[in-house]
Symmetry: C2
Subunit: 419 residues, 2 copies
């Protein structure tokens, strides 16, 4: 099979079924799967192969069943970015509009944060639920955000850990099948994908992000899941906060009817896509933010998982200012550099299993488009360990572009919409 893909042949259905099953059982060794993954990265897979590969990964584990839920299920997946806290306000918002949102989420790695890491900054909140607990929270609240169980697509878990150490993460067929195998196994009936593009995204090139989005939409449709994708901007951080507790605070502001305009706009756009795809009509997510019904779901959902939605959020022990060194218009802010700085402050992890700091991260006090004066406060850096400041500041070198009279150079919030 390795030789076949190496020599640009198609893999047959039985070959794909066999290799995924044999790898999960340990019959195919890590070094053999690594060679195959590199051959797939360099020589590709066609849509039949990707579809079969995805199915084989789904079949390596259990499938969730939400048939006891009477509301239509709606799920969302983001490929991850800097300051991307959208899941936090979005899940209770869609629930407030009548959807059931089973949001199985992950932890962060590298410069992008993870939804579970963010929520774990809320005192008492628990990410790990049994399947029964998950169903109960979803039934009682209309939304649940928790860790995916070990029984869901175990082949993907093993393969992802291997790809992470063998430079084979960046293969569109493997990215698409990894994401979609988990999402399809989660058993949602509709799915909206938020594929990020720009410097802070996994797929920095918008054309590549579009290919990934179309591949995933096709996989979803083949599996009977109503699927749409938005390719959205991640050249600039989302909102005004990057870091776990800082992002929870901003999410709560949005649920309270405030918050930064880009976070509000993307939350509402995704909510409308999810509601429409789930077949819900006559509901306006904007009013669910204004009338407090989304906030009610949030508080109930956090409480149901042991969290105290009213408790003060952790604050880092130390902070440092980052000032503008020149005057002019801010025309760009590099999401990757800000993400790396937040990671270095302790908000992110370098290895699976590493602890993250709840309070660490960055507050942004200005965004592209604003006029800046030299000496003006641009960011506040937070960490419990002040020895982390120098390397974080190194990462921020050149992160902000300020010029006299230049035009703002950034992606539109929605780069592409794929139905």
């Amino acid at each position: 099979m390795i030789a076949a893909k190496r020599d640009r042949h198609e893999l047959s259905d039985p070959q794909i079924d066999w290799v995924i099953s044999a790898y999960t059982r340990g019959v195919v060794a890590d070094e053999q799967m690594a060679a195959l993954a590199m051959a797939i990265l360099l020589n590709g897979m066609n849509s039949r192969e990707i579809s079969r590969w995805t199915n084989a990964m789904i079949n390596s584990g259990e499938r969730m069943n939400w048939s006891s839920i009477t509301r239509p299920t709606a799920d969302k997946h983001s490929t991850g970015g800097v300051g991307d806290k959208i899941t936090l306000p979005l899940a209770p918002l869609v629930a407030a509009c009548g959807g059931a949102v089973p949001q199985l989420s992950g932890r962060g790695l590298g410069h992008t944060g993870g939804t579970l890491d963010k929520l774990e900054s809320i005192p008492g909140w628990r990410a790990e639920l049994s399947n029964e607990e998950m169903l109960k929270v979803l039934q009682d609240c209309g939304a649940v955000i928790c860790a995916a169980g070990a029984g869901l697509a175990p082949a993907d878990k093993k393969l992802y850990a291997l790809r992470d150490v063998t430079a084979t993460v960046e293969a569109i067929p493997l990215i698409a099948s990894s994401i979609m195998s988990k999402k399809i196994a989660e058993g949602t009936s509709s799915l909206v994908l938020d594929v990020k593009t720009g410097s802070g995204a996994f797929m920095s090139d918008p054309a590549q992000a579009g290919i990934l989005a179309r591949t995933m939409v096709e996989l979803g449709k083949n599996a009977g899941v109503k699927t749409r994708a938005l390719v959205t901007a991640m050249d600039v951080p989302l909102g005004l906060t990057v870091g776990n507790a800082l992002e929870v605070r901003e999410s709560v502001e949005v649920l309270a009817g405030g918050g930064p305009s880009d976070v509000i706009e993307l939350t509402l756009l995704l909510a409308r896509e999810m509601i429409e795809l789930a077949g819900i009509s006559g509901k306006d997510p904007e009013s669910a933010l204004k009338d407090g019904s989304a906030m009610d779901v949030w508080r109930k959902m956090i409480s149901a998982q042991g969290g105290n939605p009213g408790a003060p959020l952790p604050v880092a022990r130390e902070n440092q200012k980052f000032l503008a060194t020149e005057s002019g218009r801010m025309v760009g802010m590099d999401a990757m550099k800000v993400g790396v700085a937040a990671w270095r402050l302790g908000a992110g992890r370098s290895r699976q299993g590493e602890k993250v700091q709840a309070g660490a991260g960055i507050e942004l006090h200005a965004k592209p488009g604003e006029e800046i004066a030299a000496g003006q406060l641009l960011m506040t850096l937070h960490t419990d360990e002040p020895e982390r400041f120098p390397r974080a500041l190194d990462a921020l070198a050149g992160s902000v572009t300020i010029v006299a009279g230049g035009a703002v150079n950034r992606l539109p919030l929605i780069v592409e919409r794929i139905q």
Copy 2:
């Protein structure tokens, strides 16, 4: 480094040194080296990278030192084929002409035989020698054929075992560096390469075999070893025997001044190249075959390693005839099919460490160019285990092409000569 080669960048000298050293020490995992090997196979390495890779593998272990030998050292390496027993008559022949031949050899895998497996069919003969024993046999006899010690290019041993199970054997940069790291570490001052091509060879395409040959000649010259290569025919088996003891018998016939013409011709051609490259003049290898001096070296060399050159060779317990089913001219004989049949009879192994049968193999009673009558004996199959005959006969289906009045379709013995 994996990502760099995946993205078609050059690897730097320090990167190459590090990865070979780290892999040998177990710091780089098998799955990481497998992904890198696949990226090298698909994206290539330039001549600087191949040269550095080879050096790093040499530096992973010891280098042999023959400075106490007064004769010029001359070595030969064949990439392996079906019935390729040339090392057996060649090493004593070159020694009889005044060269010192330190022939560190390997065992067979798959359809090609190994020099050590062949010699081990001689009762008492020992392949494993200490460095001191090796030097003594070379000093006393002018030639030594033995196993390469574990201290020689250990990085290559580990990497070859990995490539074997990850479909990354067929990468010219990795083949060339594997062969040349061992040959350069062996410390010979001159080297003649016999690169086989045709169906029974590792590199069936003559153009690819030529690229491999030129890559290796360049590596040898860069390392200060006088190196030449012949690309030679392996579309048809060499000689009239395939199998361990059968090939020793044929080699002894050549040393006695007889034997099949193709084996004699290739042995003499390679001997002349080795003698010339070693700077020996006024010696005629043909007369060393006729006057018995090459046979004298053979007997002395076999005895020095515990073998009894006069003892009868093992004969397989069972044999079966393979007859022509039609009349006409034999225009082709597929070396691969004959090699696979001999392997299935027990002459070869499927896995490193497996035992082989000394007496198993195939005697050929006709070769391409001969007129054949239906019912004529074409081959005799030998094995200790008669249950092996059916699968060996399956492999021989279509191995011989007999047509009425057709032209012989085979490669010239010497396809290309690279100086």
